[in-house]
Structures are given as C-alpha cells and as structure tokens.
Symmetry: C2
Subunit: 681 residues, 2 copies
C-alpha cells in the first residue's frame, strides 16, 4: 500500500458533503460509471487494490449477499490479477465493509429498496444498503470504479449516494420466434446486473414457438416448439439465477393472439377446428384463442396455475397485442356470442377475454401486465399497461390512474443509434402529467424481438446499446450528455464482455470468418466497422424473412451503431471547427479514408470466393469511392486548392445514393461525410 | 441446377475405382477434408446445393440418425444460406439418400462399425453405412465437402470409402483442477464429432475438486467442489449428447491418489484422520485413499455402483497414477498391513488396491482403464493401459497381451506445435510389435489437463491442434504431409468454430480487449499473432501457479502454434530458394517485419495503461528490433549490399536471446528468422 500511504484519509463517515475536488491528489478519478449514480462526490486519494484487501460483512448476511460478493471479488481478481480474498469475515474494520440491514423482499417487487451508499477512502470501502439488492447494486458500482495508473490497480476515493429514478427497468427477450438457449439467457442476466436492470421480461410463447414446458399440456411444447423449449427445471434455474442478481423474472404468455403454436397441439382452444402448424412467417396472425368457450378459460386457468408455481413474481405478462379478430368475425358461433353479449366489435370481445383472464390471474395471486391494447375502462387499476404503440398510451393510462411502463422508443430491432434510445425519456421534462400521475410511470423496457436474431447474434443486438437505456432508467433525468455517454459506453461494453461473457463483440469476427472462409479478416473488419444493419421493417420486407431464413448474412455480422458512427461525427465536428489547420482530426480522418481505399481490393478478392459476401460488392466499391471523396474534401478544406466546379454537387449526389441500404446494410458515416463535402467552398 | 447439367453422371455405384482425374471438369475439387478418408477418388462434376435438394432415408432410421441428419442439414444451410429441407422422406431417389443397415451398438463400444461409403455425383449423394454412427461420420464428411465457386455452393463429385485406422480416438478434459461448465463440454463434443473423435474421457475427480454429484455421498461435492460440479442430470445429459454424436463417455474417478477432494468430506477414506481441505496447489499430492481398510472398498463399491448407472459405457477410467505412498509409509497400521501381506513396497500395496477396485468394477459390469502405473503381472487382460509416461509402456503392455491407448505425445498443455502432435503415431512404421500385438493398440487420446485453463481459454488450447491428432487416429498411417495438414487445418478450424461454437478463435480478441481495456486491439493482435504460450512446466515454475492463480495474463490470450509459425517457416523456405529474386515471399516478409515495427509504439502506449500487459514490454521491444533485423536480412539477401562485419554474429546473438520466454510467451518466428540471418553471406 506504500504508494498511497500519504493520501488523505476519507474516513468511514457515510456522507461527506464537504469533499472538495481541490483536495484530490493523483491519481485522478476517471468516471466511467454506467449508469451514473444519483449523487457522486470525488474524494482525495485512492485505495490500492492488492493482496492486503480484506472483506467484512459485520451485520446481516445471507447466501445471496455472499454470492454477490463472491462474484464481485472474482471480477476484481480477474481485472487486477490480484488473487481474491476467500474468507469473508464479519469485521467492521476490514478494507471492504459491506453493511446491510436485511434481506429485502422475499419475492423481489418493484418497491424493493435498491439504494446504497458507497464511500471509498484511501484506506477502505464502506458500503451500506437497506437490502441485499441495494448492496449488490453498490458492489456493481465498486467493480466499475476500479482503475489503474499503469502500475497498480486502485479504487479512487468517492462518496456515492445512489438510488434509481425508475423502479421498473427491464429487458424483454423474445424466445418465441427464435429460441434462445439457457446460457444465452444467463449471460444476458449477468449483463443486465452489470448495468443495474431489474426486470427480465421473458416472452415465452409466440405463433412461431411455445417455449415453456407444461406438464399438464405436454403437446404445447410436444408439437408446438420444434423441440426447442425450456424445461420447468430450467425455468426455475433462470428464476433463481436472476434473483441471485436482484432481477425479477416476468414471464409473458401472450394471448388471445400470437397463439398459433398453442393451437398445434390444442386446436380446440380456437374457434376453428384446424389443424394448425407452427407458423413460420412473421407479422400479425389471423388466428386466436376462442374467447367464447368456457373450455378456453379452464385451459388457461390450469395453465396459469402451473406457471404461477414456477414464476414467483407478483406479475404475469399476458400479452393482449395484435389480435385482429378475423377468425372471430368469420365464425357464426362467435358472432352469435357477441350479439348475445351486446359486443359491437371484436375489441369488446377481447376486453371480455381480458377480464376473464385477469380474474384467473388474480385467483392464482398474480397481477397482470399487458400490452397497451388491453387498456379499457373496465380494466382494474392494479394492471400495468405496457406501452408499445407510443408514449401517448402510457400517459393516457397514467391520467386514468394506471401504472405503466414504456417500450415504444426502446425497440432494439429498430436499429436506432444508442443516443436516440438514450435521449428518449419515459417521463420527459415537458410532460403534462401531474407529479402524482408521473409516479405511475414505473419505468420502461428495452425490447429484443426475435424475428432476426439467433443465439449467435442476439447479444450484439442488445449490447452495448441497452446499457445506455439502463442509464436512462436509473440515472437522474439531467444525465443527458451524449458524448460523455458514448465515452462511458465503450468502457461499459468491455466490462460487460468480461463480466458476463456476452458475445456482442466477439460475434462480428466469428461471423466474418464464416462469411469469408478465412481467418484473414483484417480488411473485412475495416468494412464491417463502418456498416450497420437496416431497421427491422426494411429487412423484413427486403429479405422476406421467416423463421426459416438463415441468419448468416453480412447484416447479421455487423453491429448496430458501432463505434465508428459517433467517432466520425466527433472527428468531423472537430475538423470543421478549424478546417484549414492541421488539427489531429484531419490526420485521423485521412487515415480512415485511406483504410477504406486500401481495404476494398482485398475484400473484393475475398468476395470472389463467398457468394454470401459478394452481394455487398457495390457497397465495397462505394466505400472506396467515398474514401476518395473524403480525402479530396480534406484537401479542399485545407484551402490550398479550390474544388472544381460541380465537384460538390456530384459528390453530394453520390453520398445521397450511398445513404440507401445495399445488401441490407447502411454506412455509418454518411452524415459527417456529407457535412464535410458541404463545407467545401 | 443448370450450371452443372452437362457434368458427367457418376451414378449410384458404391465403388468406382476407375474414376480418372482426367475426367474431372470445372469446378475443381479442393480437398480440405480432415481427417482424410481411407480411400478417396475424385469424380467429374459436382452437385449444386440449392433449394431443389431433397433428402431420403429409405431403410433404417431412428431418432439418432434423424438428429444427425438435421444437424447436417442445418450446417449446410448456415454455410450456404440455402434453406434446408424440413421433410425427411423415405425415397431412395432423393438428392441425398442416407442408407443405413441398422442402429449399431445399444451402448457404443470400440467395436462399433464406423465405416461408410459416400458417393457424390452431379445429381445426387448416396451415403451407405452399416450403423448410425457410420452414417454420422459420412454426414460429417459431406459437410466438409461443400465448397463454392464464388457464385453457388456445390458438393464435388467424389467416391469415398472410409473407415478409421484406430478404434479409440479420444479427448480427455480435466474438469477437476478447473471446472468446465456443461456448455463447454457440449461445444467440445460438437467439435469432436466434427473431426470424428469417438471417446470423451471425462476426468471428474482431482485433489483440487470433486465434480460429479453423488447422492449416496453428498459431501463429496458438498465440501469438495467449491460448489462447482455436474449434477447427475447434467451428466446424463452429457452422455446423451455425446451418444447422439457417436461419442462414448468414459468417466474417470482417479484413485487411490489424486483424491484429496474426496477426503474433505470423507476423511475416513484415508489412513490419516485429517481434516483435509481442497488442495489449491498443483503437482503430486502425498495423501491417498487407505487401501488397507475394508470400509474404503465398501465406499468405492457403493460409489461405483451409483456411477455405473449414470455412465453406460463398458469402461470406467479408474486412474491409478501418481500415488507416491508417502502417507502409507508413515502410518504404522498400513505398514503392518503390508508386512502381513508380504508387500515389500507401496507399489505392491497399490496393486492390491487395483485388484480390489477392478473386482468392484467387474461386479458392476464394467471394465477398467487405468494410467500406465496399473500395469503389473496380476492385472487381468481386459483392463486397458492408458500410457501417459511414454509409448514404451504401451508397447510393453501390448507384448504382454494388454490393450492400450497412447496419450504421452498428445498432452496439449505441453504447447507443442500441431505438426509434432500430428507426426506422433500410436503405431509407427518402425514398430517392433507383431501384427497381432499391434491390434492391441486401440488408439490414443489428446489430453487437456486443467491446471492452466478455464472456461474462457480451454477451447483455444484444444482446437484446432486436436483436429490434427484426430486425423492421426483416423486416417491411414501414410497421411503425413505437414504442409497439406496445415492447409486443411486452417479450414477445419473455421468449420469447427462455425459448427460447434467453440471459442478457440474468439477468445484471443476478448482476452486482448480485457487486457488493453479498449476495443482498439489491431496493433496488439499483430503482437499476439506472433506469440505462443510457454509449455506447462515453464509456466508452473515461472508463475508458481495454483488453482487460485487468475488466468488473465497475456499467456492466456495467445494461442498455441498460431498460423504465423508455419506461415513464416514456409515463407522463409520459399525465400531462401531464390533469395536474390523478387519472389512473392520477399514482399510478404517485408510487410510482416514492417507490421512488427509499426505496431510496437501503439502497443507500448497501451501498456502504459495496463499493468497485466506491461510485463511484456521487453517482448514488444524485441519484436520491433527483430523486425528491423528481418528487413536488414531481406536487404542483404537481395545481394545489392553486403552486411557489415559482425552483423550476423550480433544479430544471431539477439535472436538467440529472443528465443527465451519473456512474460511467459515465446515468439513463433525464431527459427525461420535465424535461418534468414544465417543465410546472409
């Protein structure tokens, strides 16, 4: 500990509001925390993380806390190479003291207290939390604080008082359209914990597959899953794994629509006799459960009872979206039922269904979450509205006294940039909701729909973008600096890879090797790092995708919003501040443009041997051409030579053409390149 | 199918020995098969792999065959992007006809018939095998045959008659010293199947951890595993997963030595009362089971009975290695037992133990495999000798009528080059064994010991080197062309990544990102691609490793025998054939040397921020310096300028110094660089 012996002792006091930055000594604190804590004061000095570190849990402890602590110490060990303390004593004078008041909720609720205080001085770390979940949040922050001066690792002195802004911070994974194996779910739960998300919404049933074992109705997976489903033991294992990380599991059994896979084994659930097959196409399905038969509710009752025993959460997500009612309208018996109940349209029939199902859920001790279609005057206010069609439904619901969660701006398959997701706020500053209504906005969920992802690509579609969404849900509303977010995002992305073992960075290389049929993918990496996938709709329409489409194209390899997009934006912003000087952005941009030009012939040669790559040949040619455009623009911007007449117009037209997708991929640099060309006088 | 319509029909005949290469038409067959089949004739033309391909299984079929066929079609789909046939009919005129005589062994034995015939013509594929395992071997070959002309995918016309040279082709994974999760085992089983290995030897118990649940003796894992073990359900799942791929699972319960983890919960198994803790150090342990107590055998009897119900294979591996007998010699009761039984040394006591354990195994219907220490005159000949201390013990055993398998040359942690493993033959051409004795050599096993691997790094230590070992075990003894092996190895390495999802290529990047703390690892990749880990012993001694050592160093990132080693050897070989001319090797070598020089400052800067990387700073400086040496040598070899006096001597000395390990990594290019410098007149 010698190198920090002279640093100021911060002391064990939990709140030190008078900590002045002017007291800070070397090494300086580099804030890469994500999400940002509610309150942070930087102290003076730092705690060296070495073999002398001891750990004490003086008050409450349970298996969950010990597990969380063990994972933390393992992460610290891996990061620093310093063997971890294996003994966790009860000393309140250990280097790391974890002081917890109690276990928290027996079944985690959205009222769980997740707050914590973390005080790091030059001699120790004091973590205090009311609950084990709060303590785990603080431990996560601790792992994010560790840094190095190049010789040793240390934790800079800080005082953090932290608590989440929203109580429902979720990630939805659709395992229906493409199945995701248990290990995919587990590593994503680890990644969620790394950014303090607390709800795993597990979309388990879809037209394209029924993914959870029912012992009462074995044909649900028996003929409705292609053999790809979670056993009940596996589901319990996931629930336990999530709970160990302070994450709730809210399972979704979507009904009455999105249920064709149920009907394969149990056609009697619908109003038409069938037979039904697993749906391979995507999009809204016409068939649905029959809401007029008592046997439908008996089935649902037994099924929900079975599921309620597996999933302890107080909430079940029961879907309710995209039920066009076509099948109902075509069935005289259903039409007759509607008449006799004075329903004037199928929406009212669906409301009837919702109420029946809600009563069943209640009988099994569960509240209901549903997609925003379920909102109607008859709905009891303990239901939660999950807004997917727009924030308006969320605010309408709040004004009518319903709690709600927002997902519409957080659809990951829309392939938006991280900053777009980041700046979308469930409760923006200009909200018209009253303070009381605002409290009904519980939070939000990032949604990873399953049409175009498989176990290989899914991580790269979720991470790191979801880390920024997690910050939106946790951190103060005022935390909105995009540049700073990206700086921290790249650090967090690496941490998630190391801590959770997600494949969001590894997948690209593996996919490129598979496409190119060689390990030599340096040139191809240049290309792919300036590409991103087209949004869901464009791929769906362009490729006519179904569940049977092989996800082995270039679009599956490239990452949404890769680092190049924001980096180019910043470089061109810097360049255009002083376009005529030799600022560092000029050299860097020139290097980038040259890399496009140099990579192109190598890639084109590889395309000669790969039909799946070769479809992007025009895109490579464009990249090389635009590299030349960029270099020319740099030259003209230097002011030594004037651009010839028509140069700007011609090149802007080419840039505009390159803005369009080709081979289902988009360039990441179109806007900044366009700005450069426009800036040429 | 139009592009191949004019090709010659090969026909459905199984043997066409008169196929002449002169008949072959475009596209040419590129042989990347690994392992090479016993007999291959190249035909004329090729079968286009497109949506018109149909599949038929006209005779025998079972779930295992259908599973293997489904995996094959999935791999073909992923490779080609062509959606797979979902219906598997029974037509004998389908494009792909899989004709199997029967299921094969109920429990796969080493007598299982794995042979197959595969005939590809321009219009169809006919696969015939006596057993389902044989059919799966043929399907694996089919997936390796698919290639592309850059526009379409096709299977070139070939006639293959294939059967393995050795019947026991294994990979051992030590899950004792470091635990390996179920998904690691599964993906390695997939990789094994890809190269036709047929025995997974699962080393389940060690001083450092007991890894298989016993319901009779729950403290074995309860206090002997750190909570890291396979449940019985998981073990059964692995056995089923392996069987589905034609792989036997031979579990190892090492005894009487290597048993300290057993003693933590059951100290009464030893001759000293304990207490015992899980061992963290590596190397030979002094404690062992007590062979003199009847209660020891009662315990083993019950335990083996429990395990026999989980592992159906006819063989159990019961270890028997490295039992120094120290504890026995120090116990008067044991010494007295030895006296009364007229044992003159502890080896004889161990023989007594072996015989007792063998009788127990027999009682439970099992034969025994043991490490070569178990070989003694009293051993019945149904035991298999597993040779780890040298081939001599294998041949001694064969001469005395014992069957044996060889592992001594195939220790993966010795970090030898692929070609060294490849050229080591269990039954070399100059063997002194008679033909009859030679038949007792059943094959061999690659051994992945667990001291220095965890779930992140293990794949990269096993693959792709084990693919070449698999070829040694399967292919004719005459298949020994090292250059051709490497050419096919790099293709197979990519196939294994794509088919099995192993991380042997991805791990390096993830580990470098973690070490460098950035995604920008291009320069670091240049460095790491010319490095390899030191052998086991050097790391063990140099780093004083134990189970608690964090495996997060540069040595854990770099790959054994990466492509650079053989590539540099070939380039320098080519260069030195005509050193004065402008041959392509010159330009390529110059580019390589320049990459070392250019990468060095970037890496050194990154080292300023990474203590775990910074230890290799001298190695980076050497790389840059040797890059200059290489460029100078290229210049002198061109003959335009003469090397100054002393240049060669000085540089050879520097190369010799760089041959030594530093930061536990070795350069891959020392020999060829030395040859270049020596060639300078």
């Amino acid at each position: 500990m010698k190198r920090i012996a002279a640093f100021t002792l911060l002391g064990g006091v939990l709140l030190m509001p008078d900590l002045s930055p002017s007291l800070s000594a070397q090494p300086a604190f580099v804030n890469t925390l994500m999400p940002q804590p509610a309150h942070l004061n930087v102290g003076s000095g730092a705690l060296a993380w070495n073999t002398t570190v001891t750990v004490g849990v003086p008050h409450f402890r349970d298996q969950r806390l010990e597990g969380g602590l063990e994972r933390t110490l393992e992460q610290m060990e891996r990061k620093t190479g310093v063997p971890r303390q294996r003994e966790i004593g009860n000393s309140s004078t250990a280097t790391l003291v974890v002081d917890v008041d109690g276990a928290g909720d027996a079944v985690q609720s959205f009222e769980e207290d997740e707050s914590y205080s973390l005080t790091v001085s030059a001699t120790d770390v004091k973590l205090h939390a009311a609950t084990v979940v709060g303590a785990m949040r603080g431990l996560t922050t601790l792992t994010q604080l560790v840094q190095t001066d190049g010789k040793e690792f240390f934790v800079p002195a800080v005082q953090i008082e932290d608590t989440p802004r929203f109580r429902w911070r979720g990630l939805m994974i659709d395992a229906g359209r493409h199945f995701e194996p248990v290990e995919v779910i587990k590593r994503n739960l680890d990644a969620m914990a790394a950014v303090k998300l607390n709800v795993f919404h597990w979309h388990l049933t879809e037209d394209q597959g029924f993914r959870i074992e029912s012992k009462l109705y074995p044909r649900l997976t028996g003929v409705g899953s292609d053999g790809l489903y979670y056993t009940q033991d596996e589901a319990r294992e996931i629930v336990a794994y999530a709970r160990a990380r302070g994450i709730r599991v809210v399972p979704e059994f979507d009904m009455p629509g999105h249920t064709r896979s149920w009907l394969v084994g149990y056609p009697e659930l619908s109003s038409d006799p069938g037979p039904y097959t697993i749906r391979r196409e995507f999009g809204v399905e016409q068939v649905a459960m029959d809401p007029t038969k008592e046997s439908t509710y008996e089935f649902i009752d037994a099924f929900i009872g079975e599921m309620a025993a597996i999933f302890p959460d107080a909430y079940l997500h029961l879907g309710g979206d995209e039920t066009p009612g076509t099948q109902w309208k075509n069935n005289p018996r259903v039409v007759e039922f509607m008449h006799s109940h004075h329903f004037t349209n199928t929406e009212e029939l669906q409301t009837y269904f919702s109420q029946r199902v809600l009563a069943i859920a209640k009988k099994h001790g569960k509240h209901m979450v549903g997609w925003d279609e379920i909102l109607n005057p008859a709905l009891p206010t303990d239901a939660i509205i999950h807004s997917w069609r727009g924030a308006k439904s969320l605010y309408d619901a709040a004004q009518r006294g319903y709690q709600g969660i927002l997902s519409q701006p957080y659809y990951l398959d829309h392939m938006k940039s991280t900053e777009e997701y980041y700046l979308a706020d469930p409760l923006p500053a200009n909200t018209t909701l009253t303070a009381e209504q605002g409290k009904l906005v519980l939070g939000g969920e990032a949604c990873m729909w399953g049409e175009h992802v498989n176990e290989l690509s899914i991580d790269s579609r979720i991470w790191p973008r979801t880390a920024a969404i997690a910050e939106r849900f946790w951190s103060p509303a005022s935390t909105r600096d995009v540049d700073d977010m990206y700086r921290r995002l790249w650090a967090e992305s690496l941490r998630i890879e190391a801590v959770a073992g997600t494949t969001h960075l590894m997948h690209e290389g593996a996919a490129l090797r598979e496409l190119a049929g060689t390990e030599n993918i340096d040139a191809l990496r240049v290309f792919s790092s300036y590409l991103q996938p087209v949004p869901f709709g464009e791929r769906y329409r362009g490729q006519h995708t179904s569940q049977l489409t092989s996800l082995d194209n270039l679009i599956d390899a490239v990452r949404p919003d890769p680092p190049s997009r924001h980096a180019m934006t910043v470089l061109v912003r810097d360049l255009l501040k002083q376009p005529g000087t030799n600022n560092p952005a000029r050299a860097e941009l020139n290097r980038i443009f040259q890399s496009w030009i140099s990579a192109a012939p190598v890639i084109e040669d590889q395309m000669n041997h790969s039909p799946l790559l070769a479809v992007a040949r025009p895109r490579v040619e464009q990249m090389a051409k635009l590299g030349q455009t960029g270099q020319q623009a740099l030259g003209y911007l230097a002011g030594k030579k004037k651009a010839p007449a028509g140069w700007q117009k011609k090149n802007l037209a080419e840039i505009e053409a390159a803005r369009k997708s080709q081979a289902l991929v988009l360039f990441t640099f179109i806007d900044p390149l366009e700005q450069m060309v426009k800036a040429v006088k």
